[in-house]
């Protein structure tokens, strides 16, 4: 293992351990950085130690003592910390204890703004710097800096605890953690940043190893199955070159999706299963549409939303014909959340086109182009428009 890989593996884990010890995220972050800096200095010369995690932890604790000695405000904590450092931790003999699950739940605590949770997860568990987090969420560095400072102030001053919720609290708390990780993935997907999508997958793998809950498994499966299509995603699903799909990820994701739906349903597991059916189909037309519609029916019950209704309508169009799908889409016309949602217009354009209603299809497609947020989406829709108008 090279030095960089070691840091990637150990940073989040080290930070979690130190937050647990000190109960102070800022101090933990500072000494984590100190320890890594020290490692960068020593390891290239002395070689990577046998137990890099334990080395980093010992170094970080010493740095913490140094910092607290200099800082009178924290002086009161020194006595406590000294005891911690002097006492050999038996768990460290086998490497670092893993307290990252606690850190996940702190970063994605419901008392924090939803938009800040993914950012904190990236920063604390993926080891991103603030500018890297800012780039991930496409906001200016100063904005992200302010958001992170504000969120950390709240963690500290409102005393958001560093703990794994009790089993009876999990149904309320876990979705926030999953949403934070998934938001990293969707940001990466929208911005065509494979590194970000892969970071989200890596975080989900860590989460799954610490908490093998069905929905954690479902989230991991969903991301793998969507990421499997990354090389082909410049086209709509129906036009994608399926030989470009990543078969290894499809195999792994499908197996996980099956596990996620064994003995119960959760929204991520169901979405994973829908994507598994897409990924396993030899082509668009022979996809198992009845099964996909059935899964959307389940999803609609688990987490009703206009977007789910839209996707279901598109699947119904494949199962029962374009007219049936269009009737469902038109019934959604007054949904406020779909009014400015370009995939809704694009789906209408597609069905109108299939029904031979060319003028209406072209109008819907132009509306979609006007609403699309990114250049890539607009480009794709312009090519659709050319097809609708018979220009290609």
């Amino acid at each position: 293992m090279n030095v960089e890989q070691v840091f990637r593996e150990e940073r989040g884990r080290l930070l979690a351990t130190l937050v647990k010890r000190f109960g102070d995220l800022d101090l933990a972050e500072e000494v984590t950085s100190d320890a890594i800096e020290a490692a960068l200095e020593h390891w290239p010369v002395d070689g990577v130690p046998d137990r890099p995690g334990a080395w980093l932890l010992t170094t970080a604790r010493r740095k913490a003592v140094d910092r607290l000695r200099r800082d009178r405000v924290h002086a009161a904590r020194l006595a406590l910390l000294q005891v911690e450092v002097d006492r050999a931790d038996p768990r460290v003999a086998d490497g670092l204890p893993d307290e990252r699950l606690e850190l996940f739940f702190t970063c994605a605590h419901p008392a924090l703004a939803e938009e800040d949770r993914g950012a904190l997860v990236l920063r604390c568990l993926a080891g991103f710097t603030t500018p890297e987090v800012a780039r991930a969420y496409l906001v200016p560095v100063t904005t992200m800096q302010q958001r992170i400072v504000r969120a950390k102030k709240k963690i500290k001053e409102a005393r958001i605890p560093f703990r794994v919720p009790d089993p009876h609290e999990l149904p309320e708390r876990l979705p926030g953690v999953l949403q934070a990780v998934y938001s990293i993935f969707t940001e990466g997907y929208a911005a065509r940043r494979d590194d970000l999508a892969e970071e989200a997958i890596r975080l989900a793998r860590i989460l799954q190893s610490l908490l093998p809950d069905r929905e954690v498994t479902g989230l991991l499966a969903l991301m793998l199955l969507v990421h499997a299509r990354r090389e082909a995603r410049a086209e709509l699903l129906e036009d994608q070159d399926r030989t470009l799909w990543d078969r290894d990820l499809v195999t792994e994701g499908s197996a996980l999706a099956e596990r996620a739906l064994t003995g119960g349903f959760g929204p991520y597991g169901v979405q994973a299963a829908i994507n598994a059916l897409h990924d396993e189909a030899p082509d668009f037309a022979s996809t198992d549409w009845p099964q996909i519609v059935a899964l959307y029916d389940v999803l609609r019950k688990l987490s009703p939303s206009p977007v789910v209704a839209l996707n279901r309508a598109a699947a119904v169009a494949m199962r029962d014909g374009a007219a049936a799908g269009l009737a469902l889409l038109d019934a959604l016309a007054d949904e406020p959340r779909l009014r400015d949602y370009h995939p809704y217009r694009a789906a209408r354009a597609d069905l109108l086109h299939r029904l031979g209603r060319t003028d209406e299809a072209a109008r819907a497609c132009r509306e979609a182009i006007a609403l699309a947020g990114t250049e890539a989406e607009q480009d794709l829709l312009r090519r659709r428009l050319a097809v609708i108008e018979g220009r290609s």
């Binding site: 605590h109 008392a111 001053e157 409102a158 005393r159 958001i160 605890p161 703990r163 919720p165």
Partner: protein, 110 residues
């Protein structure tokens, strides 16, 4: 750590919570040893606002009256280990139900 639970009852509340619910809630906090102090406030029409200007002059006005849907109807100060514990108590408060809300604020430590 001390937190203030500020209880904002919705104007049209009262649907499902009774005086007994409030008494039981207070008793539960006392039995758990977390209650520092707490009061419910008299009707908003009895409120009076005082402001002192830069010239030292006092302005006293009737009100304020409810401009928003929710009105501060009472508060409890509790002493618990962390925010999760405070949120648990807030969720148990009868004032958090039926369109009401409880705002949890840490008491500043100096």
């Amino acid at each position: 750590m001390k937190y203030m639970l500020m209880i904002y009852a919705a104007a049209d509340q009262q649907a499902n919570c009774t005086v007994e619910d409030w008494i039981a809630y207070e008793k539960e906090m006392k039995d758990a040893g977390v209650l520092v102090s707490g009061h419910s406030l008299a009707d908003l029409v009895t409120a009076t606002t005082v402001q002192v200007g830069q010239d030292g002059r006092r302005t006293v006005t009737d009100g304020p009256f409810a401009e928003t849907r929710e009105v501060l109807g009472g508060y409890d100060v509790i002493d618990v280990p962390d925010l999760d514990a405070a949120l648990e108590w807030a969720a148990k408060c009868p004032g958090s139900r039926d369109g009401g809300a409880v705002v949890v604020r840490p008491i500043a430590e100096f």
